[in-house]
Symmetry: C2
Subunit: 185 residues, 2 copies
């Protein structure tokens, strides 16, 4: 029997994964990681390789992914890489993509195009502590989704609403996450 693949997603594996988690919920717990190194000025490099999930340390990755950060000159950097807020918005776009495509695949809806245009507003008076009334973080994020799929608009809107409600990065940004910071010896 042929493997059912929709939108580039192996639907049999997706259904199998969901059923495996139903039988053994602990395998759904994942720990993702990064380690960064400062590179002078505004520059940093974050490395990503190991993670824990499905009950074990992952062994599938043979390469380390590196994500560079910098600032533009107006923010005292040298424009070698996106800044952290831009990287955050990019992470949101990647998460919304998966949170849209997987359920669409599971429902047998072919998607032809999916893009997210995202804008985030920040007032650097917060970062610079020039005002107690202005937060350091983003004041708002606006996402515009563009979708071409073999489904009526109401169904596409329902898939988009599902993605908004299930995307880990979207939920983390909308509702916040407890963060602890520890200074190593």
């Amino acid at each position: 029997m042929a493997t059912l693949v929709e939108n580039g997603v192996n639907v049999e594996q997706l259904v199998g994964t969901v059923n495996a988690i139903k039988g053994q919920p602990g395998i759904a717990r994942f720990k993702f990681r990064t380690t960064s190194q400062w590179g002078g000025g505004a520059k940093s490099t974050a490395s990503v390789k190991s993670f824990y999930g499905a009950g074990q340390e992952d062994a599938s990755r043979t390469q380390t992914f590196r994500l560079e950060g910098d600032e533009p000159p107006v923010l005292l950097g040298s424009n070698t890489a996106p800044n952290a807020v831009e990287a955050l918005l990019a992470a949101l776009s990647g998460c919304m993509t998966v949170a849209f495509i997987y359920p669409a695949a599971a429902e047998g809806i072919t998607v032809h195009e999916l893009s997210f245009a995202i804008e985030g507003d920040v007032d650097l008076q917060g970062f610079l502590k020039l005002s107690d009334r202005i937060r350091p973080g983003l004041q708002s994020i606006h996402v515009t989704a563009r979708v071409k799929a073999d489904a009526p608009r109401a169904k596409i809107q329902a898939l988009l609403d599902h993605a908004i409600g299930t995307s880990p990065v979207m939920d983390s940004l909308k509702n916040g996450v407890p963060v602890s910071v520890h200074l190593a010896e």
Copy 2:
């Protein structure tokens, strides 16, 4: 007169920027952007170039930065790039770097090494809607900072606390951001 540079940061420009914002607070308002394209399966590419800040559209960038996203095989991807949660943690590390280094430079504290090891916990039962009690987002984020600097540990801790309190990505994650999503025609 020589330009004062500390930690690779032009301190004169930093002080000048702060003073300019004090005189004209509107220039502190920035809008950062990304536009993503789905690439089949779990893959997406986010492009970053334009932003608004300091009262105008930025014209300094000649290149577009591209940030790739994917998933590992256990999450139905093909391991070509970090996933969105990993990218989120990387963004946090880059933001904490800048939020630590700039104030250190302004205070004349030489930093030799700065790294952040970050781990985030997620239970995919939330993403898969297998439980109403488990959120889709990260349940916690743990950051370990390693710093070598010409300052006593108490001062390094104070700089770290300052970074925690002023990093835009840290504040966005800890306290949440209003997000609106619109489906284009």
